[in-house]
Symmetry: C4
Subunit: 273 residues, 4 copies
């Protein structure tokens, strides 16, 4: 008897948590959505000294409410599943766990907010935003297009990095520590800042020759940016192409039939006789 | 008798204001065009302390002339229409109203120029520039292409924002308030400045590790910029593609038939019975 | 008799100056090429205080040699033509004239180097670089592609400018003179700096809300840059398309013939029987 | 007898160094890979004052180990080949030599680390990274696409440079030395920084007119960036296009026949007689 009741309960729970087509399921999702956003906002506000000083306690309370909910959600998700282990070890399972941990760690080690590690753990709460991706979902098309051109992009990046290391060393030789190029890594940082057309201006060439090389680097970066764009665009386009063969209909002579066409779209005559 | 006269008058007015093919209509449009540009220039000049100090009165006069004209235009537009309510509540109806209000508000509350709100209202006059779009008109093609890839762009932006929030928090953990990353929102601001390759340089990483993460962010941004470009380009190109409709075959249910298809390419059944 | 000799002379001159296939013609072109580059370099060096201080006289001499040559070239070009007026009033005719004038103006008004106007005139010599385009020639393909998408780009720019004026005014309202947004034109300057992802950092938002609006502007700019790229790319592609018709060969059934095809490329059978 | 043994030895050596399909060959490649990366890291660390101060000796030792290995590798590569001269003079042959030289030069001229030339030679070790390209290999597709649009890109760059020289001179005339535009080369540097949307902010226009011209330059740069992107994208796409060869018809001289064409599309004459 009991087993049946727990079974019923689990089914109901699964409906609420994992499905969105029932009213309760929808409600649950909406509450979750609001709490996630609220939680992110709370983390942000907490990081602002002035706000924390004024509303520290309120934020603390909000934090506890959210944590409580997330804890119940996590437990619920585990109970609702027959084989929860798969979920627990899944990407979102870990994210969900990390969403609850920080507050409890605070509870166990109070007054350590300023320890870098703890601070880091507290900030892990930001990763809760990834739970939003549950709702929106990553753009499959984008992912596919990027995956397809994955290798090309990797080779491209490898070449860019090699280029940046060589150019960075060159700039280090030319400018030297006097004008902010204190070391090769710093020079490489500057080179990437320049090649990607970000251009912070925290480090800038001062010698005429250094400025000349910078110009070359900028023009290079201007041209290089065309490559990933070209790759991704080509990928997007090729995805969109309608595959047609070039056979003509024996009956009416029309062509540009789809590869999977069996009958002529114009006269209805069978194509492959 | 009178009604006929008013009718005549309204028709004439409609011709002048809403049509551009009559000489008077053309003249009206040209005057309007000049006054709009003049008005924008006036607002800009007024915002420049030195200019306002020297030519404050002249600008005031110009402002009144323009306002008078826009007021008559607004009234005219209402009179000229049989059912003006639709226009009054339309986007351009509101713009036209906002074009006249500020000056009158000044008239009612004089000497309040420095109250932020009033200042804001005065600056609303800049929106008159949108009246220019009457003449040029938005690029339909662009609008269509952007509309078509609206959803993809939205998903793309959502992912970018999620990425920026996480990277921003990361940089806040690494750099901390010492090097200008005073709070998570500020760090996110910096991340967007960097990812979009704007790179103001008002905040820059100082720790080696922070600079390393910055490099990754920049390279990322360099690659990410390819995505919207690819999307929009693909959209522009798709205009040239083979047009297929979404009707399904009554017989076999297959879809993606060419617009000029008469028979189903799969079962050879006539499509438009 | 004389006329014939002058005629001969003019023909020879025309050969040397306007043609490149004779040895003397080639030689002339090479000398011209070298002198143009030399002249540009001279102008640049002269603008560098230290260099001018050290090598002022040498640069003066070089300047005179170049001017002398360009003067002879200009006179030569006029003599060599039967109807020189067309050349004189042509774009390159004016450029060639401007290439010689500055030095003579110096000669007539000596010691006025520091008068802005004269300085400007002296710098006109830089436009001699346009004579290089004689040799390289503008990329016709590029010009065609850009010309074709001229209107679209114009509409696009118009919309961008309207956007910048409105956003600039908005930022002026939010930030105000305290944080460097001293006037609406300055704010618009900042907006364009940001939207185009240049990001000098000479003016940066300081209020949280200002930073928030900046983020929106940057993301906008990130998306907007996709539009001209899409337009130009689409233009380049459509240019490259091979125009084929969809008729099939009555004899062998092959299709995708060129529009100007008269015979089947596969069986050699006449197509339009 | 001896010759046979050396022959055997050389074959074995060739297998190890030049082939990757034998266990020893794989091992050799992995060791090489690790040592190259290690060497690059060492050069970088050495350039950081603090690190060099603390771990100077360790780095020296690592350097010697790496150099020893690279020396043996270089000698090995020469021995392993029957005609080593081709390799010695090849690009990678020189790179491999440069990878060993610096340390030995240090050995011959000790205590000259601070002489710029020697420092430069030491930094040549960074070029060892190009040996990595052995393993990854440049992206042929990219290379092909870039090579194909080489000429177009060259013409594009030439036009951009001409534009920058003229705009740079213009800005020098407008802004002058007061606001950092100390000379024409500096102004051109600024123009490129702006046109490529890098925007360091080390030099910024201060006069209203200068800011206006800057806006035009930025908008220009915003549009110009579309050109290389368009070129490269079009190139990437063209891979999918109909392939035509450049042979001319023996009969009518028409060209641009399809690769699979057997008869001239214009006169129907057989092509490959």
């Amino acid at each position: 008897m009991k087993t049946i009741k727990t079974e019923k309960f689990r089914t109901k729970l699964h409906e609420i948590i994992y499905e969105a087509d029932t009213p309760t399921g929808k409600l649950f999702d909406i509450i979750l959505l609001i709490l996630i956003i609220l939680s992110i906002v709370a983390v942000m506000l907490e990081s602002m000294a002035s706000v924390k000083y004024l509303y520290g306690d309120e934020l603390e309370i909000i934090e506890w409410v959210i944590t409580a909910f997330f804890t119940f959600e996590y437990i619920g998700r585990i109970i609702a599943l027959k084989k929860p282990i798969k979920y627990v070890l899944s990407f979102y399972g870990i994210i969900d766990l990390l969403a609850t941990l920080p507050a409890f760690i605070d509870l166990i080690f109070p007054g350590l907010h300023f320890l870098v590690l703890i601070r880091a753990v507290r900030l892990l709460r930001v990763f809760r935003i990834l739970k939003l991706v549950h709702f929106v979902g990553a753009s499959n098309q984008l992912v596919v297009a990027l995956k397809k051109s994955r290798l090309k992009i990797a080779v491209f990046l490898f070449n860019v990095i090699v280029l940046c290391i060589i150019l960075g060393t060159l700039m280090y030789m030319i400018e030297g520590p006097e004008s902010g190029f204190t070391s090769i890594p710093t020079s490489i940082y500057w080179t990437i800042v320049t090649l990607t057309t970000v251009g912070f201006g925290d480090i800038t060439p001062e010698t005429p020759f250094g400025q000349f090389v910078s110009m070359v680097i900028m023009i290079l970066g201007y041209g290089i940016i065309a490559v990933p764009t070209g790759l991704v665009t080509a990928e997007f386009m090729s995805r969109d192409k309608v595959h047609e063969n070039t056979q003509a209909c024996r009956n009416c002579g029309f062509e540009n039939h789809r590869d999977d066409a069996i009958y002529c779209y114009h006269c209805g005559h069978a194509l492959n006789e």
